[in-house]
Amino acid sequence: MSEGIGAPVKRKEDKRFITGKGKYTDDIRMENQTYAAFVRSPHAHAEIKGIETSAAEGMSGVIAVLDGAQLTGDGIGNLICGWAISSKDGSPMNMGAWSALATERVRYVGDAVAVVIAESKDEAQAAAEAVEVSYNELPVAANIAAALAEGAPEIHENAPGNVIYDWELGDGDAAEAALAGAAHVTEMDITNNRLAPNAMEPRSAVATYDDAEDHYTLYSTSQNPHVARLVLSAFYQVAPEHKLRVIAPDVGGGFGSKIYIYPEEIVCLWASMKTRRSVKWTAERTESFLTDAHGRDHVTKARMGFDADGRIVGFKVSTRANFGAYMSLFSSAVPTYLYATLLSGTYDIPAIHCEVLACYTNTVPVDAYRGAGRPEASFVVERLVETAAREMGKDPAELRRVNFVKEFPYQTQVTMNYDSGDFEGNMNQAMEAADWSGFAVRKAEAANRGKLRGIGMACYIEACGIAPSAAVGSLGAGVGLWESAEVRVNPVGTIEVLTGSHSHGQGHETTFAQVVAERFGVPLDSIQIVHGDTDKVQFGMGTYGSRSGPVGISAIVKACDKVEVKVRKIAAHLLERNPDELVMEDSQVKVPGTNKALGWHEVGLAAYTAHNLPAGMEPGLKEGAFYDPENFTFPMGCFIAEVEIDPGTGKTDVVKFVASDDFGVIINPMIVEGQVHGGIAQGVGQALLEEMVYDDGGQPVSGSYMDYTMPRAEDVPSFVVEHHNTRCATNPLGIKGCGEAGAIGSPPAVINAITDAIGNNDISMPATSAKVWAAIQASGTGIAAE
């Protein structure tokens, strides 16, 4: 089928975006709308001594100036982290109180203290600057080392030493014993740099309170509007769930940063009730840097042991994770169940142990960002394996080959059970596409031009399809991680699919429709995907963790199963045949080998006229399903990066990048490849360019596009993206998920290539020109090349 599974169908949703008709939250204007501007802390850590609002209140256009005392006085609850992690000793994590508007203390630069509601944006901003907040500055812990140092300032009273939890996974004694008996041990200190997600659309919210109905409506840049409604209702007590509608219209990218429910949405809803006016807030980019949850920020010590044949015998990892000033919604799960559980990588490792110490600092909260824990794990594993190969004088590809998991299912020592894969197959495909064996010639040619050329590989694995509800529940998750779908066949045969997944660039309106078109043999254009509105769609869990394919589509398949049963019964009844004899194709329900057939629309009409249905059958043709995955899915792949470095400047060019991924069954290869391209660019950005920098006083240094280096078109090459897929064994269509892979596998591939080129393994991300140049000086390779 040209429109079905596996077809590179052009996207249905494109037309509105390419003609400027997309509808993003900031494009919405409510009647009688006001604007919110937040008063934010300029200090990383301070006591609030007083808030003087009278000057602001007297300014032109100002409707209200509201602060944290009023917010808490109205019973609005604190923000929460929804995943409870316990320390080694069984004690619960130390979650500090986080009010949407700070009351007694501010804990990071950008912490909201008050809000001005005014008739225009300019008036709101001008008045916000006139709000006088007096502070008593406190000592600051701006990074992990400062927060965990002896005598560090205490950021939350209930978190002694700024420790949130001290957690572990795996068998420490077994790992230590294996390392003690190893023929070779590779030991590394690894930093995973702090990143700002930077979806191109800044966060925005428009809240409206209808006092006649006591009902709230929130338009929001959300990846998961139902979860937003649940949290706003159950925890923040902004409005009861049945009196709150959350709509996430077109959303301009998320990458994790739009999962969470932030103070601004809470305050806009509350302020709309206080003022009886619609309230809009849209972040400026600087505000995005100051308030969007950041990603990564790990410091790790790791030791990997090998026997004389190069087999990995044991692996010990100790990680310190920066959570920022407050625990964001998913933060606690990222360095634990999304990180430590992937430390077996693509390898058969008999003993693994990981401990994670999570701490507060006076910085923006840190949470899941594209890959969330899995890029950190992949970076640790793939840097160690590569380094070990060099130390032992082994070919890095062959060392990986010796250690690959080769039989499935495979139970790792860190809870995950890999269902499928052909890791060698992906590596072989990538090596061939990259002309691995011809590298020496290219290196020599580059040297003739005065360039240092290096090649680096990474074989990542990740866990997607998040997640089996009972499993995550037992690990502390506050929610189930199933997905829902409803398939409505209209009386005229057109189909609406309501999904709890949310599309903010992933192309669901096309791929989800492809699945249904193939299933029922109907045209793609007859199918409409509905998402992102809690008033339209049954409860859903939203889009993150590459879950929309493996979990969201599985729910649609399950609902289609139920529709198909009813379609067959109705058609069999009308055609006087057995339901099992019928086939659905070419917009008909047919009896094969005969000319007996009903149009698809005739079946739909029959279901709704209900004049002649099988005895006892309810009218209508609409079915819903909730799909709870039985396991995570495990996309994996082999990435190979080739770089050229100018030894005179340290400037690194990624000249070739090859990916061979295993995503299971692919619905739309064009869209899947696009996901990989974007992920690789983010990973190359992390490896070479991006870092969210705070000075020791907690002031953000890279808080704009003048300072934070986003990857531009010239910073990346065209990518070679190939697939060597094995079917996922645990969901109906065999889908593994593809949204994060590119960002997971690319940082280690790039850094392995750079360290190969310069002959110095001591380099941290981002490998800026200055760092690479210094590393070249330290190793002397630059002089040799010249």
Binding site: K23, T286, H677
Partner: protein
């Protein structure tokens, strides 16, 4: 306050605006043409690119008053009925994902093709990547944006 008059997408428009009003705010908030976006506050991201008198301009870096008498084209006005070849190329090549940077990319793309054609220069992949310095995309990794602009360049 000043009265400004200009032609936007072929239509004469006139309004009283504050002197500090940026052209992008005039377009989005006064004319309600919301296809032109705002993605940063430092003139880096390029989501606000429009054409002023036939040249690509970041409409966040120009005052509405400075566009007095100008001929302005936004993403809503690039096509005559059907899609512009640059718009079609973005659809053909999956040159967009979330769509937020897309109007600016299309406006920059059209401008660069026009300039290179006028100057008789070849717009190859390296040139396209160089010319996209002022437009940031976080979704596509630029791969398919480059392909889209290359296709449109061969058709325009």
């Amino acid at each position: 306050m000043s009265t400004v008059s200009m032609t936007v997408n072929g239509k004469a428009v006139s309004a009283d605006v504050e002197d500090r009003t940026l052209l992008v705010d005039y377009i989005r908030e006064h004319l309600r043409l919301t296809g032109t976006h705002v993605g940063c506050d430092t003139s880096q991201c390029g989501t606000c690119v429009i054409h002023v008198d036939g040249k690509a301009v970041k409409s966040c870096s120009m005052l509405a008053a400075a566009a007095e008498g100008a001929e302005v084209t936004t993403i809503e006005g690039v096509a005559n009925g059907d899609l512009h070849p640059m718009q079609r190329a973005f659809n053909d090549n999956h040159g967009l994902q979330c769509g937020f940077c897309t109007p600016g990319m299309i406006m920059s793309g059209i401008d660069m093709v026009n300039r290179y054609k006028a100057e008789g220069r070849t717009l190859d992949e390296a040139a396209i990547r160089h010319e996209l310095e002022g437009n940031i995309c976080r979704c596509t990794g630029y791969h398919n944006i480059v392909k889209s602009i290359a296709q449109a360049a061969s058709e325009m």
